[in-house]
């Protein structure tokens, strides 16, 4: 491919309050190429993107840009209170003859456009009422439709499930055919190898490799990212889930008839100590809602939750007290407390346990925090660093630590490895495994099928807010799960 750079970065350095996020980085994006940008959590990928788009001003270095850049940032960046249509066309609204916004046309265009991305939600409803994955698709549509010469995608698939991922990859391919250059950030190796031409690897803010992707063996790419030798990695393998472990005891969690119209309907979930139950389903099938219903964060029309046979009042406080914890899907709005330090964020939910007469013990806190920072390899300059300054993946680890230190009996994990790098993902998975072995009951929600298949002992498949089937043992194969999910597609075909 002839080199025809649309973006050229030379010697860029960016420092945040003591953290060197980018260190003398060179990077070139050529016209028409799909360029993978990879690296561990906190390697500097998002920062590089923000420097490219002008959100951050670099401390040193030179950036040359040609043409219009359109970006999908890592955290969904849309306006939740505005309608889907308004979000989609914000800044380039269709006008009528008087120069005023043509709202009818905007809605019509939006509806038509989104259908192409598999979104059928009402475009006049506020964006915030859509599931996170759907929002991600809206963001994608918005970025793609902006007539850009370069499209940057920072972990666009982290909240998408297989069918949506295919849609997205299809879009990427079309853009590629139209000659648009793409920067693609993802922690999912499969996707990278399927679509990307070239790769740049960042490690600790430095660019350690740049070149064609196809020639680079997967294991070598991982070794470049982690900065460890190929041998060392081979010993560990890629997913870190161990053997299935099945516990013969009584269920510790029994949720029956969970109903919250119109989102979920008569969902039953039972988990035994030591068991990992997976929730599978399409985007918007009600997985998040089920988890929220269990922890008491969703107003219920009907349904009961029993922990160890005892009913739990339907509110988060009571559920937490009974030993249920939930790692929320949307870490930005439902997870981190941005103003507080990493330490404060980690111990937040465990505070009552760490204090006497309401007064907090600093020593006990520090011990726990240090343990988890080491165990989860959270990359921080100090436990006192503000959590908002961490990279996305590291924030996720902080939240995981928050729940683990409450020593829960039941852990609900909604997309626990979302946005987490390969190395850390393996660690988190190993951790889930280990916790289950210690007797914890885990509900695992993941859009990554492999993660579910490897990690779960049993799978509950949801469809349209209701249980569509349960898979166990030998049924836990890709084909079976896709079959259960695909039933919906066939249903749709029937009804049409």
């Amino acid at each position: 491919m002839p080199t025809d750079p649309v973006i050229e970065v030379a010697g860029v350095t960016k420092t945040f309050a003591g953290v060197r996020a980018l260190d003398d980085v060179d990077f070139t994006l050529n016209r028409g190429e799909i360029h993978a940008l990879v690296g561990e959590n906190g390697a500097g990928k998002s920062t590089l993107i923000k420097v490219l788009t002008g959100i951050h001003t670099p401390d040193a270095g030179r950036i040359t840009r040609k043409g219009h850049i359109s970006t999908i940032y890592q955290e969904v960046n849309l306006v939740p209170l505005m309608s889907v249509a308004a979000n989609l066309f914000l800044g380039r609204e269709p006008r009528n003859r008087l120069g005023l916004i043509d709202r009818a046309r905007r809605s019509a265009d939006a509806a038509e456009l989104l259908t192409g991305y598999g979104i059928t939600a009402d475009v006049s409803s506020p964006l915030g009422t859509l599931a996170v994955g759907e929002q991600q698709m809206v963001a994608l549509a918005r970025a793609v439709e902006a007539d850009a010469d370069v499209v940057i995608m920072d972990e666009p698939t982290s909240s998408l499930e297989p069918r949506e991922v295919e849609t997205l990859l299809e879009v990427v391919r079309k853009l590629h055919e139209a000659g648009i250059a793409i920067i693609y950030v993802s922690h999912r190796m499969d996707e990278l190898y399927r679509i990307c031409d070239t790769v740049t690897v960042l490690r600790d803010g430095r660019s350690v490799h740049s070149g064609p992707l196809k020639e680079l063996p997967r294991i070598e790419l991982v070794s470049l990212m982690l900065g460890r030798s190929v041998n060392e990695i081979q010993k560990h393998g890629t997913t870190a889930f161990g053997e299935d472990h099945y516990a013969g005891r009584e269920p510790v969690l029994e949720a029956t008839g969970l109903t919250s119209k119109p989102r979920i309907n008569a969902v039953n979930v039972a988990i035994r100590p030591g068991e990992v139950v997976g929730l599978a389903g399409l985007l918007g099938s009600g997985r998040t809602e089920t988890a929220k219903a269990i922890i008491g964060a969703l107003p219920l029309d009907d349904g009961t939750v029993l922990v160890a046979g005892k009913p739990v009042p339907h509110n988060v406080k009571a559920a937490t007290k009974a030993g249920i914890s939930m790692l929320a899907e949307d870490r930005k709005t439902e997870g981190i407390i941005p103003n507080l330090s990493v330490r404060e964020n980690i111990v937040l939910a465990a505070l009552p346990r760490l204090s006497r007469f309401g007064v907090i013990s600093r020593a006990r806190q520090d011990r726990i925090v240090d343990t988890f920072i080491t165990r989860l390899r959270i990359k921080v300059s100090s436990p006192e660093q503000k959590v908002a300054e961490l990279s996305g993946g590291n924030q996720q680890k902080v939240l995981l630590a928050r729940w683990l230190c409450t020593e829960p009996k039941i852990l609900l994990l909604d997309e626990p490895t979302r946005g987490i790098d390969v190395g850390a993902k393996a660690e988190v998975q190993a951790l889930i495994d280990e916790l289950a072995r210690e007797g914890l009951a885990v509900l695992l929600i993941s859009s990554e099928l492999d993660e579910l298949l490897d990690g779960a002992d049993r799978l509950i498949v949801l469809r349209d807010g209701a249980v569509a089937g349960e898979l166990e043992g030998a049924q836990l194969t890709r084909e079976h799960v896709l079959g259960a999910i695909a039933a919906e597609v066939m249903d749709d075909a029937d009804s049409n």
């Binding site: 505005m82 800044g91 006049s124």
Partner: protein
């Protein structure tokens, strides 16, 4: 609407009702007042009600924009008074000066508010609190510590602006109405309006989406200042003098009516129509208190407080 999913279900109908909670309250209030106090519905009373409401509506219009961006403007009360004094002083140089001077000066203070808020990341509450003090101080300075009250020549064209009527309805009512219609149009049908919503709904996201958030905020505060100045000028024309003691606490009135009208104080949501309805509600309750007539003056504020509470609680319950 060609959205395939839009059907007027029962759910959406309740939604409409919820959003118009204030309107429902207003209609009820008016109906009850009309029945209980025969004089409430007299043309004279309604004209006065509308006229009094029009000054507040002009101020609250600017406040609506500010609040939708997630901000607040405490300086409007002082700017309202300052605008009146400047208009009265300017009226000796003719109509244009009388009208333009308050708009320019108050707009400039609004612009400074906007610049400080948008460019330095200081809280709107505190920036505009400082301008509340500053504008009051400026007003005292130009009136010799309040000793001078500038009079507007009764025969000047400027007085006509405040006192003229069409079918007995004062010009300010029409001016306020036109501005509110324009304001609603700007808010919903221009990209500036969309930017206002975006800036308030999710500032960081809006910046990432390429919305000129800073510029939008600056404009919005400038607008609020200018409108407060205009309201002051209209009031001065109506009162035929630049009264120095008006506008104390007007900012709270303006905020109340905006919020009663359903605009979220946290930003990102709101309507001009709601604000107009809010103005109506506040003025009607004030009028009703007068119609009762026998209410001890100290009880009057208790009643206003309780009323404010009832409206916001009702609205909140409706919205659930």
């Amino acid at each position: 609407m060609t959205t395939p999913m839009t059907t007027l279900t029962a759910a959406t109908r309740t939604k409409v009702l919820q959003r118009q909670g204030a309107a429902v309250a207003l209609v009820l209030m008016v109906a009850v007042s009309w029945l209980v106090f025969p004089r409430f519905g007299s043309l004279d009373n309604l004209r006065d009600l509308a006229l009094q409401g029009s000054f507040l509506a002009v101020i609250a219009l600017g406040m609506t924009f500010v609040i939708i961006t997630g901000g607040i403007d405490l300086s409007v009360g002082s700017l309202y008074a300052l605008g009146g004094v400047l208009a009265a002083w300017g009226s000796q140089y003719g109509f244009l000066v009388a009208l333009a001077l308050p708009l320019l000066v108050c707009g400039l203070i609004g612009l400074i508010n906007g610049l400080l808020i948008a460019r330095t990341n200081m809280a709107p509450f505190i920036v505009t609190l400082a301008s509340l003090l500053f504008a009051r101080g400026l007003l005292l300075a130009i009136t010799d510590e309040g000793a001078n009250t500038y009079q507007i020549p009764p025969d000047s064209a400027f007085v006509e602006l405040g006192r003229g009527t069409v079918f007995g309805f004062g010009y300010p009512i029409f001016i306020a109405a036109v501005l509110c219609v324009l304001g609603g149009m700007i808010l919903n049908r221009t990209s500036f309006g969309q930017n206002v919503f975006a800036a308030g709904g999710a500032e960081q996201s809006a910046i990432l989406m390429g919305v000129p958030v800073a510029k939008t905020k600056i404009l919005v505060y400038t607008m609020s200042g200018t409108l407060a100045g205009l309201a002051g000028a209209l009031t001065a024309a109506y009162l035929q003098s630049g009264v120095t003691v008006i506008g104390v606490g007007t900012e709270l009135d303006a905020i109340s009516v905006v919020v009663i009208g359903g605009t979220l104080l946290t930003g990102g949501m709101g309507t001009v129509l709601g604000t107009v309805i809010g103005v109506g509600l506040i003025k009607v309750i004030q009028n009703v208190i007068n119609q009762i007539g026998t209410l001890d003056s100290n009880y009057q504020s208790v009643v206003s407080g309780v009323f404010l509470l009832v409206v916001v609680v009702l609205q909140r319950i409706l919205r659930r």
